[in-house]
């Protein structure tokens, strides 16, 4: 019934989201592996609502229609935890009751077995964002940039099917912001992950380099 | 309080175990009683509001276990009437065997009520106990007549009580102390706010009312009979005239009362009251020993006499451990237990025994007791007034409550 089934990447098929009968999002788009779709709009336009829909946490007050696929899997039919959508918010949201390494170990899929193997994968992931050796640190003692990197390493460690980015750079200062943009998009390309980016910052869209959809205008 | 709940539960469930009648143990065959008692558990229902009395009962339990193999369980009551209510409820529910109360600390109205309703083990057993031989029934008439009710061996004497007054000689002039109820009124007039009595129906407070009634009533013989409603107002007028005069002169002008004797004791220690009273002559000495009262507190009594009575132990008709209860009553009557009880350092409750009947060794136990500086010697305690018939207490309590209990 649609052409998306045999193709790869993230496919949003006639996704509509309405609040009290008023449609705020209506979208059909494909995001290829490694590519970025940037959704832009003023605050309150429903950008984050779209992410919540794809991630599976849409507030029941919204009425949603349409479907979302990753590769040939309809993720909108799945529970949030079975969708494997890696999310980055504007705050790093590291779990404050776990060490840096603990945060990553929590994210690693269960099929990585054995203490040693898991620990090795965790250290590797940390090194991948340039933070080798920080695994025993309390997240609260990290700098803002370090926290953002750990958050990225954590989301990648879970082997997601796609990345959902909710203004992930907006709280970083200008220099860090540029660095993180490069790092996140590089990692996404490296892992072949389709990325859905929500932002109101033109510079983000420019750095992402993919399609841009404007909503709420 | 839980006894009441139990009795209610019994009623609610309509428990009626119809067991065959068995004969009561006979204290004249004491060896059989002892044999039967071994291994029994005696539920002793006794007022539990005093730490030193509870400790004494605990001691008795240890000795009974050691010597006779009887386990004593102190069921601590707030009000003896609840034990009576339990037996009443058990009888109503047809539980004539294996009742939950084995031994009750009792006297006065509760005894009258139990005896009247046939709730006590019969036939009269108290005077058949081996320990009865030492009891001073001759010079202590209240041992055979409890609040005018003939005892008839249905309860075993445990201790003596007499109304005595306490004051602090460091601040109260001895010469001015009252000698009778009228003297007390005059003293209160001269020292307003320094006397009070616990709010009836507290037992000590009601006893004060009876003391005044006994002094003021014209025909004392009336008190030996049940209240006659027809002339109640008339014969009690002197009492209530007296209280009308006294109450405004009392502590807090009679608008509040101490709740019981311990509260009154604290008020003496705080110098709020100058004269207080208790039913136990050794009470002041024991309070001094505990640091609750200064060692300048002394006792006095009314020359014309004060109320006196005896407190007893009784066994319900349906007790589960009758032999054990007999053994307990007999042990508590023994010179050893009685002497220990009389020691103000332990409890300070006067004995029911006649020292003249004891052998030298047992008499020495009593001679060795230091009664304390604040305790009057037995010969200084003055004449004893008999308790009025139990109906008087109930009636004057109601009348008091109507007149003064809701005054504000």
């Amino acid at each position: 019934m649609n052409t998306g089934l045999t193709e790869t990447g993230l496919f949003l098929d006639r996704v509509t989201i309405a609040l009290d009968g008023r449609e705020i999002v209506a979208l059909t788009r494909r995001v290829a592996p490694g590519a970025v779709l940037t959704v832009m709009g003023p605050s309150g336009a429903g950008k984050s609502t779209l992410l919540a829909y794809v991630g599976g946490f849409l507030d029941p007050v919204f009425e949603a229609g349409g479907r979302a696929y990753v590769d040939d899997l309809e993720i909108t039919a799945l529970k949030p935890e079975d969708r494997h959508m890696g999310i980055l918010f504007q705050d790093p949201l590291l779990f404050p009751h776990m060490s840096v390494g603990g945060n990553l170990l929590f994210a690693l899929p269960q099929d990585v077995r054995g203490r040693e193997a898991r620990r090795a994968r965790m250290c590797h992931a940390l090194a991948g964002v340039g933070l080798a050796g920080l695994e025993d640190r309390d997240p609260a003692t990290l700098s803002g940039g370090q926290k953002a990197r750990v958050a990225l390493a954590r989301v990648l460690a879970a082997a997601p099917r796609a990345l959902l980015l909710d203004e992930p750079f907006s709280k970083l200062d200008a220099a860090l912001r540029q660095q993180m943009r490069e790092l996140v998009f590089a990692k996404a390309r490296e892992s072949g992950l389709p990325v859905l980016l929500v932002t109101h910052d033109e510079a983000d869209a420019k750095a992402a380099g993919g399609d841009i959809v404007k909503i709420g205008e | 309080m839980h006894k009441r709940v139990l009795s209610l539960a019994l009623l609610a469930l309509g428990m009626a175990p119809a067991l065959a009648e068995t004969t009561n143990p006979d204290p004249r065959k004491w060896d059989e009683v002892l044999a039967q008692a071994r291994g029994e558990t005696v539920y002793f229902n006794a007022w539990g509001g005093s730490q030193n009395i509870n400790a004494y009962i605990e001691w008795a339990g240890e000795e009974l276990k050691k010597r006779f193999g009887v386990t004593l369980k102190h069921v601590k009551l707030e009000d003896t009437a609840s034990a009576v209510a339990t037996v009443v409820a058990e009888k109503a529910a047809g539980r004539d065997e294996a009742g939950s109360v084995d031994l009750i600390w009792i006297n006065g109205e509760n005894f009258a009520s139990m005896k009247g309703q046939g709730l006590i083990m019969t036939p009269g057993w108290a005077e058949q106990l081996p320990g009865w031989a030492y009891v001073d029934a001759e010079s202590k008439p209240t041992i055979r007549t409890d609040f005018t009710i003939p005892v008839e061996g249905l309860e075993s004497p445990w201790g003596m009580a007499k109304l005595v007054f306490f004051y602090d000689q460091a601040r109260t002039e001895v010469a001015a102390l009252p000698q009778d109820a009228d003297g007390l009124l005059a003293w209160a007039r001269a020292n307003p706010g320094r006397f009070s009595y616990p709010q009836p129906p507290d037992f000590i407070g009601s006893s004060f009312l009876k003391q005044v009634l006994a002094e003021k009533i014209e025909d004392k013989a009336l008190l030996q009979k049940p209240v006659d409603e027809a002339n109640f107002a008339e014969v009690t007028r002197p009492l209530f005239d007296y209280l009308d005069a006294l109450n405004p002169l009392m502590w807090r002008s009679g608008r509040a009362y101490p709740q019981n004797y311990p509260a009154m004791k604290q008020l003496l220690a705080d110098s709020e009251l100058d004269i207080i009273f208790a039913f136990n002559p050794a009470e002041a000495s024991s309070a001094i020993a505990n640091g609750e009262l200064p060692d300048t507190v002394r006792s006095f009594t009314f020359l014309g006499g004060t109320l006196a009575n005896t407190h007893f132990l009784t066994i319900p008709y349906n007790a589960a451990a009758k032999a054990g209860a007999l053994v307990t009553a007999n042990f508590l009557l023994s010179p050893e237990a009685q002497a220990r009880k009389q020691d103000p350092a332990i409890w300070g409750d006067p004995t029911v025994l006649a020292l003249a009947k004891l052998d030298a060794e047992d008499r020495a136990r009593f001679d060795a007791i230091d009664l304390g500086i604040a305790t009057l010697r037995p010969d200084e305690l003055g004449p004893a007034f008999d308790e009025p018939h139990p109906s008087w207490m109930e009636r004057i309590e109601t009348e008091w409550k109507r007149r003064y209990g809701v005054g504000n």
């Binding site: 779990f95 776990m98 997240p139 | 709940v5 609610a12 707030e78 705080d270 640091g291």
Partner: protein, 559 residues
């Protein structure tokens, strides 16, 4: 899902005991109690009730106590918040007063009595030097016929409760912004607050205020310790009838409980009338544009009242602790002549049994209550919305229906099913009162949890139960333990449920302390009240130390 059971349990536990209890009270009040031979309905118990001497005076005393306690404590809290919120003094007083919430009512009442009695600590401190008194003045302070001391005892305990409720409601009305706005129009601080912010805050603390009225109209322990005795307030008298060995007095007690229900309902009804009057007065003043800028005296008075109420309790509690180790301590000595541990040594063996019951009942009822509260809140998360007004009123039900009115019937129910005076029954009875507090105290921190943590963990592929156990619960450790400490202190302070359901066979530190109150042995009362106060403090200390210890390596988990 397990969480579906949360609301079921909560509603069952909160409404069933109240409903059955009320039925068990109302039926005997009309003469129906088959167990005691009351087989047909009659008005005899009510007739007997109204024939009791001065029953109207007792009822009136209860009514006035409820209204004045609520009025004085609410006004004190309102003026204090109006005058000082947002300042350093406010934060300090808040820290001073919050611990008072966990001091059981009975302990606070003892503290006050030991402080202000004619032979109390205050007069001792200034005598004989300032007063010339070598012996206590004959003044009727404690147990005064007007019940003023009793009201004071209730007010000092209700102030912390209403203050904390107000503090919880305060952030939602954005006080700083509104205050600036109103100040710019030239309104005095208090007038601005009362006209601008209070109308939004009050609806949120209205149920707690009703709970205060219900509690104060029907309180037994504080009334027995501080209240008038000739005659006592209604609730004290009817518990007396309930305790009467004569079982037929139950009919009278039930009729009294019915009257108590009417008195409390009337008090709340009158209060609603007062609310309307006050709102009209406020609107008239605001409409007239009264700026009321010279409010400095009121501001300072509000601060003084708050400080005084806190300091009175603390000083009284110190006096209690002192009495527990005092040897002879005669008037007017400010300190005992000697100190000794004898009182403690003598009381200690008798403490163990009530202490054990206290701890078991408090821990088990709190654990169950916290679990149910968590399940309820987890269910709310699933539903995506908080419960409506009706459900919230339900949660307050056991706090708004006077305890005596339904505990009598509840006791009867337990007797009929044969579990009176069992530990299970007592825990269940405590649960009825602990659960509302557990829910009310947990809901704000629970809802404040950043849901994105949960979404993020879902994105990491973790199922709901795993997210709940590994993320939500650990991150909520501190608020949950705080709720446990609150529930623990609520259970420890419960007097009437313990006395009626424990039926004297199961006693707790609080029921023992109140029973000893009439004896006036200050040393023993001092020991019990000291323990009553220490147990909640230990609870809160554990609630603070445990998370600090578990998460000592993680700074953001520290506060």
């Amino acid at each position: 899902m397990l969480s579906r059971l949360g609301p079921v349990f909560a509603i069952g536990l909160l409404t069933a005991p109240v409903a059955f209890g009320l039925a068990g009270t109302v039926l005997p009040a009309f003469g129906f109690l088959p167990a005691l031979g009351g087989m047909r309905f009659s008005l005899a118990p009510l007739a007997a009730l109204f024939a009791e001497p001065a029953i109207a005076a007792s009822a009136l005393m209860s009514l006035l106590t409820g209204l004045s306690t609520a009025l004085v404590s609410l006004i004190a809290v309102m003026l204090f918040t109006a005058a000082w919120s947002g300042t350093r003094a406010f934060a300090r007083v808040q820290h001073l007063i919050s611990p008072l919430l966990s001091v059981p009512h009975a302990a606070a009442a003892f503290a006050l009595a030991f402080l202000i009695a004619p032979s109390g600590l205050l007069i001792r401190m200034v005598s004989p030097e300032l007063t010339g008194w070598h012996r206590p003045p004959d003044l009727l302070i404690v147990h005064d016929p007007m019940g003023l001391t009793m009201m004071a005892g209730l007010i000092v305990k209700e102030i912390p409760f209403l203050l904390l409720m107000t503090l919880a409601a305060l952030p939602q009305v954005k006080p700083a912004r509104t205050r600036t706005l109103i100040a710019a129009m030239g309104y005095g601080r208090i007038a601005g607050f009362v006209f601008g912010l209070w109308p939004q805050i009050y609806p949120q603390i209205r149920l707690p205020v009703f709970a205060v009225i219900a509690f104060a109209t029907s309180v037994v322990d504080v009334a027995a310790i501080l209240g008038p005795t000739t005659p006592p307030p209604l609730a004290v008298r009817l518990v007396g009838w309930m305790n009467d060995p004569d079982l037929s007095m139950r009919f009278l007690a039930s009729a009294g409980a019915l009257l108590q229900l009417a008195v409390t309902a009337l008090a709340i009804g009158l209060w609603i009338g007062l609310e309307k009057l006050a709102a009209r007065l406020r609107d008239r003043c605001a409409g007239a544009g009264l700026r009321l800028r010279a409010d400095a005296p009121v501001r300072w008075a509000a601060l003084a009242v708050m400080l005084l109420s806190a300091l009175a309790i603390f000083a009284g509690l110190a006096a209690l602790a002192l009495w527990s180790v005092a040897g002879l301590w005669q008037f007017p000595d400010a300190l005992p002549a000697s100190f000794e541990l004898r009182n403690w040594l003598r009381v200690l063996p008798h403490l163990l049994e009530p202490l054990r019951t206290t701890l078991i009942v408090a821990l088990v009822s709190t654990a169950i209550a916290t679990l149910i509260a968590i399940l309820c809140l987890a269910r709310e998360d699933e539903m995506g919305h908080p419960p409506g007004r009706g459900a919230l009123a339900l949660i307050y039900l056991p706090l708004i229906v006077p305890q005596v009115a339904f505990l009598f019937g509840l006791q009867l129910l337990f007797i009929l099913i044969g579990s009176a005076a069992t530990l299970t029954a007592l825990i269940l009875a405590h649960l009825v009162f602990v659960l509302p507090y557990a829910y009310l105290c947990l809901k704000d921190p629970w809802r404040a949890f950043d849901k994105r943590y949960d979404q993020l963990a879902a994105g990491l592929g973790k199922p709901a139960w795993r997210r709940f156990l590994s993320i939500r619960l650990p991150m909520m450790t501190r608020p949950i333990l705080t709720v446990v400490a609150i529930g623990f202190s609520v259970s420890i302070g419960l007097y009437l449920p313990t006395v009626l359901i424990g039926a004297g066979r199961l006693t707790t530190i609080t029921s023992e302390a109140v029973a000893l109150a009439s004896g006036g042995n200050r040393r023993v009362i001092g020991i019990y009240a000291f323990l009553q106060m220490m147990l909640p403090i230990i609870g809160f200390a554990v609630a603070t130390l445990v998370p600090a210890l578990i998460f000592r390596r993680f700074r953001d988990m520290q506060v």
